[in-house]
């Protein structure tokens, strides 16, 4: 059992160490492209972690989570369009915009359950997508190109890719820590209980709606921060970022990594990005194999990668 725990914990620690020292390793092997890859991976992991909070722990299957990536990115893009590059100002817009959007849509969505919930979250995200696509001023379909990354205080420059990477990495660690505290707190127990048996929780005396709504908002804002990072990272902001296929990918990442486990999102994102990179190197029809892989994961892999690791861990008893 102890040996098994070491396996599970060991893999996670190994990945975290790899990520922590990535820029140095990448510099040493002189493949700068990989820094882009891991930065993107870390940003996606933050988004996945935020979705895991509501989906994995809370049972709220949002098919519109990528909307927050988009909103966060546009909170960089739109001010930049007007010449405003102050990072903290843009971050404030991200938080307010994502907070409001999640509060308003969550209020409607959370009154529904099951498939209705999935579809409504999807529909709201598409609503934002179409709204942004029709605004000619901000590039519509073609998107916005921004020249400069956000300006942050204390001379911390995001133009430096290593700095950019470490900002993302530390935010990932920070958010994972917050999620860890959240899900084990009283608040987290209410969320987790409502995910499994909402009416029982209500008959115990919990007004579950308000807790779930708050959780929904927290996740939305966290994902918005990921979007803020993404907007800085790519310098190109388009409505595609919030397309429903993006949301589907996020769900897949969470499930692949293991929904409801703390490091599942990290495992899932790593696997997802690696598979995507490898497959697309082989054939332009990689999405066919990727789709089949997705179907296979759903049919055969329960509990995701984290579950698999745990199974190997437990079998060492």
């Amino acid at each position: 059992m102890i040996a098994g725990l070491k396996l599970h914990g060991g893999v996670v620690v190994a990945i975290l160490l790899l990520l922590a020292f990535a820029p140095f390793i990448i510099d040493w092997i002189d493949k700068p492209f990989y820094l882009d890859l891991v930065t993107r991976m870390v940003i996606l992991a933050i988004a996945a972690a935020s979705l895991n909070l509501i989906l994995g722990y809370g049972g709220m299957i949002s098919f519109g989570h990528a909307a927050y990536l988009g909103i966060g990115a546009y909170s960089i893009g739109i001010p930049a369009y007007y010449g405003e590059y102050d990072g903290l100002y843009q971050l404030a817009i991200t938080i307010i915009a994502c907070g409001s959007f999640s509060l308003l849509t969550g209020y409607v969505c959370l009154r529904t359950k099951g498939v209705y919930f999935i579809m409504i979250t999807l529909a709201f995200a598409q609503m934002m997508f179409f709204a942004l696509v029709s605004i000619e001023e901000y590039g519509a379909d073609d998107g916005l190109v921004i020249d400069l990354r956000s300006e942050l205080p204390f001379g911390f420059s995001l133009e430096n890719s290593v700095s950019m990477y470490y900002l993302c990495f530390f935010i990932l660690l920070f958010f994972l820590f917050i999620i860890h505290r959240l899900v084990n707190s009283r608040f987290g127990m209410v969320i987790r209980g409502s995910a499994v048996n909402d009416s029982r929780m209500q008959s115990l005396g919990f007004p579950t709606f308000r807790y779930r709504l708050l959780c929904f908002v927290i996740a939305g804002v966290m994902c918005g921060v990921a979007g803020w990072l993404l907007g800085n990272f790519t310098n190109f902001i388009s409505p595609e970022m919030m397309d429903w296929t993006r949301s589907g990918e996020l769900i897949f990442i969470v499930v692949l990594g293991g929904a409801g486990s703390l490091f599942g999102p990290v495992l899932g994102t790593a696997a997802f990005v690696l598979i995507e990179e490898v497959l697309s190197g082989f054939t332009i029809y990689w999405q066919l194999y990727f789709g089949l892989f997705l179907v296979a994961v759903v049919l055969f892999v329960r509990g995701g990668l984290d579950g698999l690791l745990s199974k190997f861990s437990r079998s060492d008893k």
Binding site: Y116, I118, E137, L288, G291
Partner: protein, 307 residues
């Protein structure tokens, strides 16, 4: 405001509604009876269009192409059910969503492999291309009228089958109580297969008849799927009647909204404000409508009686 324009857009709205109904009907049936969320439903819409496109170009006859493409799409739907879908009925909705999401990628890529990345357009026979004069002052494309007509015919046909035949009775019973109909000794698996394949064929039919106007393209399935889901949410998942009414409402609001919202807004705000925000607002209109309806009736307008 031009009266003729209003009538034209009204008819366009009905045409869109009818098209949506053809797609939504299969979707809501499959969910209502098999409790199955099928994100890949749009793929059948796309596949129907491409099959019909190839056949039209090869046989030089739109009508024969449709006559052949319909059973072809039925068979494709049947096979998809047999190979993938039937293993997912007992899984929870999240799994179904993810698996069918994967299937979308598979089918989009397959179409890319078979037909190339560009869309295919195919012509209508000449006699379908004209305009018809309605009510003395409106000219409307004949083909769009034909679409409306065929959609209504299908709706009536569906009504007939569902309300007046034994199969339909099983379907209605199945929508409210699955265990009951299997207890009656009906071969559930076959029933599901046929329901799925029929839904696929209807979606394919929609794709076939719209593609001459919009061209058969790879993204078309996903585009229509989302609105179809909005339609069945508004109409009540599992209800054909709900799907019909919701389709018409959505079709009308979307079409009329895009055409007239800026004019309407100019009555209240400045011309410039109206022109910049109208496109975005009209794109959002259908979703706002959905949110509003769900706020007051979370189960949709006509939810079938629960199991």
């Amino acid at each position: 405001m031009d009266g003729a324009l209003v009538v034209v857009q009204l008819l366009n709205g009905i045409q869109l509604g009818v098209l949506l109904f053809l797609v939504a009907a299969g979707l809501t049936l499959v969910f209502g009876i098999m409790d199955f969320v099928n994100l890949a439903h749009g793929a059948l819409y796309m596949i129907g269009a491409f099959i019909c496109a190839s056949l039209t170009l090869a046989l030089d006859s739109f009508l024969i192409a449709i006559a052949l493409a319909l059973p072809a799409t039925f068979i494709v739907g049947y096979l998809i059910e047999r190979v993938f879908i039937c293993h997912l009925y007992h899984r929870d909705h999240l799994d179904q969503v993810l698996a069918t999401f994967g299937l979308i990628l598979v089918f989009d890529t397959l179409v890319h492999m078979l037909w190339g990345p560009a869309g295919i357009s195919y012509p209508l026979p000449n006699w379908m291309n004209g305009q018809v004069n309605l009510f003395g002052f409106v000219d409307f494309p004949l083909y769009r009228l034909l679409i409306i007509f065929s959609g209504i015919t299908v709706a009536i046909g569906l009504y007939f089958v569902i309300v007046r035949t034994k199969t339909g009775m099983l379907i209605r019973a199945g929508a409210s109580n699955r265990t009951m109909i299997s207890a009656l000794g009906v071969n559930i698996n076959q029933l599901f297969r046929y329901v799925f394949a029929t839904g696929a064929m209807l979606a394919g039919f929609a794709g076939m008849i719209i593609a001459p106007i919009t061209e058969a393209s790879i993204g078309m399935g996903s585009d229509i799927l989302l609105i179809a889901f909005v339609v069945i949410i508004i109409g009540g998942i599992g209800s054909i009647r709900g799907a019909l009414i919701a389709s018409l409402i959505v079709g009308l609001i979307d079409t009329m909204g895009r055409s007239f919202l800026d004019d309407l807004m100019k009555l209240f705000v400045s011309n410039q404000a109206a022109e910049t925000s109208a496109p975005a607002l009209s794109a959002m209109l259908v979703y706002i409508l959905m949110a509003a309806i769900l706020f007051f009736r979370p189960q949709g307008l006509f939810p079938p009686k629960t199991r």
